[in-house]
């Protein structure tokens, strides 16, 4: 018992030391550089006065939800708050559409300060969503860590330019791993379409909120999601042919690919190793009904080695395909690495009204594992099974016994005669 306790204590101490080593003391000098960052973007436009969330005004529901969220922020997460339409009550569109400010800077949360800041908000002005998203992207900075924006609004962008959906796609294409989750406080078609489009463009989610509980629950969930450790993909840029393609190592890579574009990458694989690659092409905008993705492993000489493909239709977030390619030793001490080219292409298409630029997001997962591709026998250890096997063995045994017996008799007979 005591030993177990001691062991447990030791393990705890070790863990604490490890935790300390990896993520240096949060409390003392702020969260580490790569801790996740979340910015809540709250719509404080005039329409938030409407009282339709559990009998409360949208604004007070949002404020209460924010308080709960601020209380529940996990220690490692840096949180910021940005408002839109909070200060300018006038009619001048020019000014109203630049009305978005950083209410609470992204960082370790001081709960009282953040709550006080939220409490001062009153529904006021316009709804410049696109403008606010750009601001939020800047607030989050680019110093590593996951970056997430949670947009809470009760109406579509009242400014028109820039189109928030285009802004979202443009921010996602910057390669800074920004995810925008949207929450809509009303259920009209236009708001939903716009918020779905923003979420889709960045790999985020869209939620309709009808009750205050749902609002705080969902925001908490999204903040917590930002805190889940995840491998950050590295950016790369495939080319139109293998010769000039970038060389990828093991890891997760992101790129962008136009409709019907082919992108090439290459990977070095040593004999006795197996290349494993998966490629996914995301549908981050409205696309036509049918689509597909093809990933091919091609030798330097242009011969196809193996391919993976998938096709589908209807609603989707991503189309993925994968392949594996073991490299054998050509001779006994063959150590020379081979270059395997990977070609990723897609057969997505979109209605003419949909923007082509930037291209669709591509995610490539490349792994090179040590491993013989060992076929052996089709059955386990080459063992047999079934009644036919028994019959064959039994009959063979019987025949062998008979033959042996006759031979023995014949020998005895011969011996007697002599």
């Amino acid at each position: 018992m005591i030993i177990t306790k001691r062991l447990a204590a030791g393990a705890c101490a070790l863990l604490a030391a490890l935790a300390g080593g990896i993520a240096p003391a949060h409390a003392a000098d702020g969260p580490p550089k790569d801790s996740p960052k979340v910015e809540l973007v709250l719509d404080v436009s005039g329409s938030m006065r409407a009282t339709d969330v559990d009998g409360q005004s949208r604004m007070s529901a949002a404020q209460q939800a924010f308080n709960e969220v601020i209380d529940a922020v996990p220690d490692g997460v840096r949180l910021g708050i940005r408002t839109l339409g909070a200060t300018y009550p006038g009619d001048d569109k020019e000014i109203g559409c630049r009305d978005s400010k950083n209410l609470y800077p992204v960082g370790q949360v001081d709960r009282t300060e953040a709550k006080t800041a939220v409490a001062t908000l009153r529904p006021t002005g316009w709804t410049p969503i696109g403008y606010a998203l750009r601001g939020a992207d800047q607030d989050l900075g680019t110093d590593g860590g996951t970056r997430r924006v949670v947009l809470i609004t009760d109406g579509e962008d009242s400014c028109g330019k820039p189109d928030p959906c285009d802004v979202a796609r443009e921010l996602a294409a910057k390669g800074t791993h920004l995810t925008i989750d949207t929450l809509g406080l009303v259920q009209d078609d236009k708001t939903r379409e716009q918020l779905t489009c923003i979420a889709e463009a960045t790999g985020g989610t869209y939620t309709t909120v009808r009750h205050r509980k749902e609002l705080s629950g969902r925001i908490k969930q999204l903040v917590k999601r930002a805190d889940t450790p995840v491998e950050t993909p590295k950016p790369t840029q495939g080319t139109a042919e293998c010769a000039t393609a970038p060389e990828l190592g093991a890891g997760i890579w992101t790129d962008r690919e136009q409709f019907a574009e082919h992108r090439w990458y290459k990977v070095k694989v040593k004999p006795g190793q197996e290349l494993r690659a998966s490629a996914g092409v995301g549908a981050d905008r409205a696309v036509d009904r049918d689509y597909g993705v093809l990933v091919r492993a091609v030798s330097e000489g242009g011969q196809e080695l193996v391919r993976g493909s998938d096709a589908g239709s209807g609603r989707t977030d991503v189309m993925a395909a994968g392949l594996r390619y073991p490299v054998f030793k050509a001779k006994k001490d063959d150590k020379e690495a081979r270059t395997v080219c990977l070609e990723v292409s897609n057969s997505f298409s979109a209605p003419p009204s949909v923007k082509r630029d930037p291209g669709l997001p591509v995610e490539l997962a490349v792994d090179v594992v040590k491993g013989p591709d060992n076929p052996s026998d089709l059955a386990a250890f080459g063992l047999g099974r079934g009644w036919v096997l028994l019959a064959v063995l039994g009959v063979t045994g019987l025949l062998a016994g008979l033959l042996w017996g006759w031979l023995a008799r014949w020998r005895v007979a011969v011996w007697r005669e002599n």
Binding site: L15, L18, I22, Q187, D189, R192, T205, Y206, T207, T208, E214, P229, V230, E231, P233, E274, S278, G280, V306, G308, D310, G314, R315, D317, V318, A320, L323, R324, Y325, P326, A365, D367, K370, G371, P372, D373, N374, P375, S376, D377, L378, A379, A380, F381, G382, L383, G384, R385, L389, L390, V392, L393, G394, V395, G397, L398, A400, G401, W404, G405
Partner: protein, 240 residues
């Protein structure tokens, strides 16, 4: 060159540290997960025999992953609790997709991976039983191999007004032994993308024991007995 080795060493140490760290956090999170991932990269691992739950919005793509070893037949089952009927505007089609560790779509050998829920239904249940996992397959084939399997749960067709409404999802995945008839030979160098999931009880490559041993040894004994029997038959009783 020197610099490179150094970087490699540092990254190796870091990797080891993260491995330690994540395994530590995974150990504490050995309970049933209450979250779902939103992409392959963030798929949440379901420990064997546990039921994962998640609150989500209609239209979200929910990802989980679970392990399956050679000789196992894996079944994924998802139950979605739909938003209350009064809030919905029509029927919705839900779908469960299963992908292997290389993100290749896997066929459901049986089960009902796509279901249409009418407006009155409170829940919808989806199941997908995969083909038996092989220990090895040719590289051109799409056969299920040992490693992680991804589950993707989403609504594929619903009234536009219903997107965004809250739903609850429950997912479980179990893998049962498919028996000696399916016990195959061969071996992969490493399971497919299995870093985040725990190894099955019998290992990735399945247990060494299959009922093929019993059949083969039984056949050998039978053969031997038959041989003795045959020999005895040829000895004429009078001559003994």
């Amino acid at each position: 060159m020197r610099n490179r080795t150094l970087t490699r060493r540092v990254s190796a140490v870091l990797l080891a540290a993260t491995a330690l760290f994540t395994s530590a956090s995974a150990a504490s999170a050995d309970e049933a997960p209450t979250e779902a991932g939103t992409a392959f990269r963030t798929a949440v691992a379901i420990p064997p025999g546990k039921k994962a739950t998640a609150d989500a919005s209609t239209g979200d793509y929910l990802y989980w992953q679970f392990p399956a070893g050679a000789g196992q037949q894996a079944t994924a089952k998802a139950t979605v609790t739909l938003p209350e009927a009064s809030a919905r505007h029509g029927a919705a089609t839900w779908q469960l997709d299963v992908f292997d560790g290389l993100r290749r779509r896997q066929a459901c050998a049986s089960g009902e991976p796509t279901q249409r829920a009418s407006q009155q239904d409170a829940t919808v249940t989806l199941t997908c039983t995969l083909r038996t996992v092989r220990a090895w397959s040719e590289r051109w084939s799409n056969d299920p191999l040992p490693g992680a399997y991804y589950i993707r749960l989403t609504v594929v067709d619903a009234a536009d007004q219903d997107l965004g409404l809250p739903v609850k999802a429950e997912v479980e995945a179990d893998a049962k032994d498919a028996g000696g008839a399916q016990a195959g030979g061969g071996e992969l160098g490493a399971p497919l993308h299995a870093a985040a999931v725990s190894e099955p009880e019998d290992g990735w490559n399945g247990s060494w024991f299959t009922d093929r041993w019993a059949w083969t040894v039984g056949g050998a004994v039978l053969g031997a007995l038959a041989a003795v029997g045959g020999y005895v038959l040829t000895r004429h009783p009078r001559r003994r």
